[in-house]
Assembly symmetry: C2
Homo-oligomer: 98 residues x 2
């Protein structure tokens, strides 16, 4: 499997990413974006039935960490998964029998 010792710097980065996606709300958002590619804040709030402010905070967290990007269109903001690996990771977890 993983035959290499990961150096500290990379370890921190990887941990940082995993920790970020390892949260129910954030994971749910990513899961939707894995299907819809691009969604507005409102669309996310409605599909997941979550408060706007809460969603915004989480989206921002993920944007800051480079996991998502967003583009403005009118008054809406559309978010997208920027970090491919994140999709791979959750694709992997999706398949596993927990």
């Amino acid at each position: 499997m993983t035959a290499e010792i990961i150096n500290n710097e990379k370890l921190e980065k990887v941990a940082f990413i995993l920790k970020t996606i390892g949260h129910p709300v954030r994971l749910a958002i990513i899961n939707r974006l894995a299907i819809n590619e691009q969604m507005s804040v409102n669309e996310i709030c409605e599909t997941l039935d979550l408060e706007q402010s809460l969603v915004s905070h989480h989206l921002n967290t993920m944007k800051l960490k480079g996991i998502l990007t967003c583009s403005k269109q009118g008054t809406s903001r559309y978010y997208t998964v920027a970090l491919e690996e994140v999709l791979t990771v959750i694709g992997c977890m999706e398949k596993c029998k927990l």
Copy 2:
């Protein structure tokens, strides 16, 4: 990539796992176990240069969550990765250019 909507229960579980491995110390431990298969607490402490108590706590956390198992041999306890998927996940993260 991930074409399916993950149901809430599974989402929670996956998030739980990801959050658990998304910590520098725990990830470092798993990384070593991915190479060494089986290590005692002492070996882990020494290789990573971390306090015994801290390592024990983290090992226990991961054991409780089903990520690791351990077997007693004399006064030592040998820990092993129990959840295959975790190795896949960090194998994936290891390769990615962060």
